[in-house]
Amino acid sequence: MAAESMERLAGQYANRAVRSVFLYTREAHPAENYRHHRSMDDKRHHARAFVEHSSVRRQVLLDDLAGTAHRAYGMLPNMTWIIGRGGMIHYKSAWTSEADVADALKGVLEFHENRAKNKWVAFYSERVAWSPRDMRAFKQGLERNGAQAVADYERMIEATKATRTAPSEEIGPRIPGNYYKAENES
């Protein structure tokens, strides 16, 4: 979770007509200390714990128990989306990286702030983004959730043979967020 870095980013752009929110979904790694949600009260309780732990100052909005909004937007555990004034989707990312979001936001602001004087040609674009990951902090988070979260994660790593070594430039690097399957994968 990129909560701290995204808090900084939200603060930097708060005076530039950027409304930053955190949309609370299901628990990604439920365990003994933070169980899966069986009610909205569960969701509120966990969200408040998150706000306190991570010093979240952004507005926190809860999806419903069925994850209606989360499912409509792709259901990944830590996505970020940028929506322009008027509702057009400017950016969607399978994973949250402050640097990648900041880069995208810069472009969106450039468009919004100068659209009256510039002649813009909008076009659809995709790219792969790379982000370092603090695995020590991630594992500390799993431990905070409970022993089950650690075991579930280790089981996933074993089952998928996923590695966290530096990815190559070959198609299908095994990184979080990758969806491409190489020919020898089922």
Partner: protein, 65 residues
């Protein structure tokens, strides 16, 4: 998908989720879908479209775990 299916009790990664995100989730240049959400601080219902009515909306999805 029922609420109990959505709120799984045991993490199991699925590569299909990333595939679905890339292929089936709304794409850039499309209009963002709007749903009612609950403001944690006030309990008030907030329609997502309110977020981008007069500002650029930066929305991070996630949870404590």
């Amino acid at each position: 998908m029922t609420p109990s299916e959505y709120n799984y009790s045991e993490f199991v990664a699925s590569q299909d989720e990333f595939n679905d995100f890339a292929l089936h989730a709304p794409k850039v240049t499309m209009r963002a879908p709007s749903f009612p959400l609950e403001d944690l601080a006030t309990g008030r219902t907030v329609e997502m479209r309110e977020l981008w009515k007069s500002e650029i909306a930066l929305i991070e999805f996630g949870s404590f775990t």
